[in-house]
Amino acid sequence: MTRPGWQWPVALYLGAAGALTAVAFGGSSTVRALVVLVFLALCPGMAVVRVIGVGDGWAQLSLALALSFTLDTVVAGVLALMGAWSPSAALIVLVAITVGGAGIELGRRSAAEASA
């Protein structure tokens, strides 16, 4: 079980903020593409994996990548199959998952510090 830390939650918040900002500003650039792709490939899954508490670095990373694509597919797939296709809505849901997961880890960290 990993101990809740602050580094990953902060990184996840930054990733989510970066993706939102990149999409909100619009246009097409390599920076925007990289920021969004890294967010989609890593952040939602890492938020969930950190909540589960997987500790091993490589296993944690592999599960985070797989769960990120899983969540991307589920969120976008549900929107597409419901006839409500909206990339922005999908991004907002994925950002919410990321921020929620990071928040849970920060909450656990605060609780652990309070009880210590």
């Binding site: 993706a19 508490g53 997987v54 694509f69 899983t70 991307d72 589920v74 797939g77 597409a80 999908a90």
Partner: protein
């Protein structure tokens, strides 16, 4: 010769005798200086290898690539670069105090050099299916959904929906823009689960990196382009990583009651994998439950994204459970039920229309193997060499893995899971030929286990220099083979900018619902107007050799088109289609050159566009039925 530990203590010693223990022994000032010099030398070697490689590839023109593929155009410096990287990796691995980040750096450099090379050479993304996949994702972007009546892809749409999402959010104009670096990106993504899988066997850390290195030296099947297979392969690897790391062993009260169960129970007792089981038991039950749910969720996304991979996961899970190597014993049933549910409720309309195609090959192993091997041996002499090398390369790795498995199982009390994972994908050949690709796909699914077992032949060894030399020889053989086996079809698979421009002109000229004919599927089309045109292949409509002269071919095609009402009909012939004909052999209907000559002379076709790589002919309909 190195003796593999046979007891728990020995296994634990091997596990813990990693860099730290070795480093403590070598913790002298001289050793430290030596270590710094070796590290600097290794980093310099990696940098030099990458620079040499990039420089070597920069001068290659796709048009000059010969029948043996990219290797025919590689200058000497490219081989020097690969040799330098391999020597540096083996030397780093054989050092008394090996460094994980340094080994990882070598592997990343290898991934860049091998899997980024096509990107460095090609003018536009290669492989015709890449363009079709981009076209399906573009369809999702344009319509906001999928049309299940179009084809099989639309009945397994997961990947295309994600690709559409990524394209929209990145602000790119077209999904094909993500294709350039897809092989490199996917192979980098595979790195984490591959390391996690290798670490699950609690072997020497050197074997972890040696096996990952071997995987990237042996992944010739080229399923890492912008495709559903490439993405779900990552998910497949992640599922294996979860099962091997968190659910090893048989679980409680494992009493196989099926025929041969006692034999399996004895095998499980001989190779119980205690260390991994003991580690897994220490994981809290809630965390293991969450991981099981995560595993099922991943599989739930694999199923609507790819037809074959759910079965690869199913067979792997069945093999692990049957051999008492996986405590998540309900997983096979869950995968089977979910797959059946998808096929029944979502893909049924497609499958009912293609039952003969899909179900007719069930259990026909002879036909499947013939389609996957025998039917591919043909075409030009260069192509025959490439196919023969692929068969030899695969057989070599199978042979090495078999020897490695014998060594492993004789000396250790784990490893049965690896043998199960190496064998389970072979059962896929009982399903169907998968367009003649099933053996390639089976090899791909086997590869993580094959790499570990083959690596166990040379790593660890009693003397470090022997380990380095052994791995060096193995790597040299695999990399030499990889240059032919992976890139052997590049003359056919690579497209030029002129080809893409010509195809763009075709779609600009063709009204919706037009018939677009090509001699074969080897062209960068279907990226526009997916589902809005009728794409027709000569080798699908004419399967006999009746009338192969230029005049006869033009007349047959004109008659075919005259009988099918459409706003317009076009024939497109590209450089890659001609190359396909030359390398892979002519289709039963005849030669592309004859067809081109015939329609060029026929009054029933009019040349409407031409550039050095593309010719587009429009079928001229006449009031009397087009004749």
């Amino acid at each position: 010769m190195y003796d593999i530990p046979t007891t728990d203590e020995a296994a634990l010693r091997t596990l813990t005798a990693g860099p730290r223990a070795a480093g403590e022994q070598a913790d002298t000032a001289e050793g430290g200086r030596e270590s710094v010099v070796a590290t600097v030398a290794a980093v310099a070697a990696v940098a030099a290898a990458v620079a040499l490689w990039v420089n070597a590839l920069a001068g290659i023109n796709p048009r000059d690539i010969g029948g043996l593929g990219l290797v025919s155009s590689l200058p000497l410096t490219a081989f020097v670069a690969l040799g330098l990287l391999t020597c540096s990796f083996c030397a780093t691995l054989a050092r008394r105090k090996h460094s994980m980040p340094l080994l990882a750096l070598h592997v990343v450099a290898l991934i860049f050099m091998v899997y980024g090379s096509t990107t460095l050479v090609e003018q536009v993304p290669s492989l015709n299916v890449t363009w079709r996949h981009a076209g399906i994702a573009r369809f999702v972007m344009d319509t906001g959904g999928v049309d299940r009546s179009v084809d099989a892809y639309s009945n397994w749409p997961g990947f295309f929906i994600v690709l559409a999402l990524a394209t929209e959010l990145t602000g790119l104009r077209d999904p094909i823009q993500l294709a350039d670096w897809a092989p490199l990106a996917f192979n980098l993504l595979y790195l984490a689960p591959l390391v996690a899988i290798a670490r699950s066997v609690r072997a020497d850390r050197r074997l972890v990196w040696a096996s990952v290195w071997i995987f990237y030296c042996a992944n010739w099947v080229r399923q890492d382009y912008l495709s559903p297979q490439a993405l779900v392969y990552l998910l497949f690897l992640a599922v294996l990583a979860v099962l091997l790391n968190w659910f090893p062993g048989p679980g409680t009260a494992w009493r196989p009651r099926w025929p041969g169960g006692s034999l399996l129970a004895r095998a499980q007792a001989r190779w119980p994998n205690e260390q991994a089981v003991a580690d897994a038991v220490r994981v809290p039950a809630r965390q293991r439950a969450a991981l099981a749910i995560a595993c099922v969720a991943i599989v739930a996304v694999v199923i609507p994204s790819h037809q074959l991979t759910p079965f690869a996961i199913l067979f792997a899970a069945v093999a692990l459970v049957a051999l008492g190597q996986c405590s998540l014993r309900g997983l096979p049933l869950i995968v089977a039920v979910m797959t059946a549910a998808w096929v029944t409720f979502f893909a049924a309309p497609y499958l009912t229309g293609h039952l003969g195609e899909v179900g007719g090959q069930l259990g026909n192993v002879g036909g499947t193997v013939s389609k996957g091997v025998g039917d591919r041996v043909g075409g030009s002499s260069d192509h025959v060499i490439i196919v023969a090398l692929r068969i030899a390369f695969t057989a070599l790795l199978w042979g090495l893995a078999a020897l490695g498995a014998v060594k492993w199982l004789r000396g250790r009390r784990d490893g049965l899971a690896l043998v199960a994972l190496a064998l389970a994908p072979l059962t896929l050949v009982f399903l169907q030929a998968y367009g003649g690709e099933i053996l390639l796909r089976a090899y791909l699914f086997q590869l993580p286990a094959l790499a570990l077992l083959a690596g166990a032949l040379v790593v660890p060894a009693s003397k470090r220099w022997r380990m380095g030399v052994g791995l060096g020889v193995l790597s040299a053989a695999l990399l030499a083979g990889l240059l032919f086996t992976r890139f052997g079809n590049d003359r056919v698979l690579m497209f030029t900018k002129q080809e893409v421009q010509g195809i763009g002109r075709l779609y600009a000229a063709a009204p919706r619902n037009s018939i677009l004919v090509a001699p074969s599927n080897n062209l960068a089309w279907q990226e526009q107007g997916y589902g809005a045109y009728r794409h027709v292949l000569m080798n699908r409509i004419f399967t006999t050799r009746e009338g192969t002269t230029p005049q006869a071919l033009a007349a047959r095609l004109a008659d075919y088109l005259a009988g099918r009402p459409a706003p317009a009909a076009f024939l497109i012939i590209t450089r890659s289609v001609r190359n396909y004909d030359a390398e892979f052999g002519s289709s039963p209907w005849g030669k592309v050159a004859n067809l081109e000559r015939g329609v060029g002379r026929s009054p029933r076709f009019k040349l409407v566009y031409a550039n050095p790589d593309v010719k587009i002919f429009r079928f001229v309909r006449t009031p009397g039925g087009g004749r």
